[in-house]
Amino acid sequence: MDILITGLLLGGTYALIAVGLNLQYGMVRIMNLANGELIVIGGFAAFWFQTAASVSPLLTVFLVAPVAFALNWLIYTVMLRPLVKRAKSRGQLEVDAILTTFGLSFVAVGVMLAVFGGDYFSYSYLARPVELLGATFGLNRIMAFLGAVVICGALYLWLNHSRPGLSIRAIAVAPQSARLVGIDVQKLSALAFALGGAVTAVGGGLISMFLTLDASTGVMFTLKALIIVIMGGVGDMRGTIVAALALGVLESFVASVLDPGLTLAAAYLLFLLVLLFRPQGLFGRGQA
């Protein structure tokens, strides 16, 4: 039982990261492989404000979000839009986006190594045990989970009920037709990309409350977020959340029953099954 709850708590935070990535990949069609570095940057900001100025990570995220938003907006408009424009085909854009975001990810890691060194960083915040359904959990994990729930909920409502949210979903489904009905595809793509980045960085801030990070852990998060997005279905927020919770549970199960060193292997096995049997994602509709 406590494995299940630990897993759900972890999965909630994964959901936040993966929702951020899915906004970028599902809506804007840019596979952002620098996603994990954004998490580490978000986590590092939380760490720095907590240790240097004793600012609660839950407050830091309000600073992290707009900064990450602006940064991702810039990345999209300056670096990625020219690629979108020059791409002759979907495949070429895919390759260019993969190489560019890999490049950004390595640059980010390199800069972080140069500025902060290669040490692990962690801090103690709300590390009080809390009793929940007969087992104890860190309060920080529960707070992070609640933060994730609030943000995912808000995002879901925004995408389904606000005008820009609906427009972004229209772009995801049919970019050509969206243009015809008067949607400013360029502006909204940038908006969705920036928003995805902001959500991811906030997720990093929340995760740092209970996980130890270092400059080069980003790629692990990127991998997990990618697996979740594909498992849940590209562009499908509901699927992403379900897949994230499933992955969280699977990981905590493998970590406690088999070996903590095998969590990624387990995630991979799950990924392989998805690729073999449901490549369109858990809730995706079959193509043929």
Binding site: V95, L104, G110, A114, V219, I227, D259, P279
Partner: protein
């Protein structure tokens, strides 16, 4: 046409023979650089054989390489060394085939993600198995010298170039060029696209595994983190793309300068190799989308057109 082909082959053989003289003339420093260059030439050229025409970016080099290293590490006490190389090749090819079957039907993003994690997956499994048996690493003690390793890698490079040359002239090579241009046309022309891609992906898989098996004696002590360094995959991608995948010799043009640059950076700023990799990726996308090969060819075209006007 025919005569050009023989000229290319002869030129390749001469260059290979010249390169083979290095251990007699260069010192140990140059020999070690030579091993590095030969290794990356083998890896990047075989990588480009698959990824060049298909545009699928494989990050699985490390996984295959590590499997090869472990084949030597585990087998050296039981089997003669010369048997281990083909075994490593077969293991690499089989793994590549399995990965290909699972992912090559799908879009390129899925393939990148899967290969990115493949090395980590294999590493975690090996570490886990080793924890059971209680050993942390393996000793590979042989009397194979650095020069032996160098010659073996050169030999492998020769095979890769010859193989690439033959594939380029075969139906498989032609099929892959069509697939790279338009997969729908390829299918409707009667090409079994999934099979062609899987078969070709087995080539870099086998080659990287053999390279790993050849290099294992150089490491002496093998442990998972060493055999499965994630950087290797990225370095190979960068070198191949930097050189250009449009020509068989393209990756070589990327390998040589990059190796020296990498050596220089890791000697003076060991922490900044990651940054270097990142900048190279961006350089490739924004300035050299077709690599040095593309650059050389456009300069040549430009020179030719000037000649035409003069």
């Amino acid at each position: 046409m025919k005569r050009d082909a023989w000229q290319d082959l002869a030129l390749g053989a001469v260059l290979l023979a010249v390169a083979a003289c290095l251990p007699w003339f260069g010192g140990s420093y140059w020999l070690s650089i030579g091993v590095t260059i030969a290794m990356y030439t083998v890896l990047a050229t075989s990588w480009a054989l698959f990824s060049g025409p298909t545009h699928y970016i494989s990050l699985a080099t490390t996984a295959f390489f590590g499997i090869g290293t472990y084949t030597t590490g585990l087998g050296i006490d039981h089997l003669p060394y010369w048997v281990l190389l083909p075994i490593a090749g077969v293991l690499g090819a089989v793994l590549a085939g399995l990965v290909g079957l699972a992912t090559l039907r799908l879009s390129g993003v899925y393939f990148v993600i899967f290969t990115l994690g493949l090395a980590e997956l294999v590493r975690q499994i090996i570490t886990w198995v080793q924890n059971f048996s209680g050993q942390k690493g393996l000793y590979v003690l042989t009397d194979i010298t650095e020069a032996d390793i160098y010659w073996q890698l050169l030999g492998l490079a020769g095979i890769v170039f010859l193989g690439g040359w033959a594939i380029g002239r075969s139906r498989l090579g032609f099929a892959l060029r069509i697939i790279g241009d338009d997969e729908t046309v390829a299918r409707h022309s009667g090409i079994n696209t999934a099979r062609a891609k899987v078969i070709l992906f087995m080539v870099p898989g086998a080659v990287a595994a053999i390279a790993g098996a050849i290099l294992a004696p150089r490491y002496v002590y093998i442990e998972p983190l060493l055999a499965f360094t994630p950087m290797l995959s990225f370095q190979v991608v960068i070198m191949a793309l930097l050189g250009g995948t449009g020509r068989l010799w393209g990756p070589l043009v990327g390998v040589i300068p990059f190796t020296f640059l990498w050596e220089a950076i890791s000697a003076s700023f060991p922490n900044q190799t990651t940054l270097l990799l990142g900048l190279c990726f961006l350089l490739i996308v924004y300035l050299l989308p077709k690599g040095f090969v593309g650059l050389i060819e456009s300069v040549r075209r430009w020179a030719k057109s000037r000649e035409g006007y003069a």
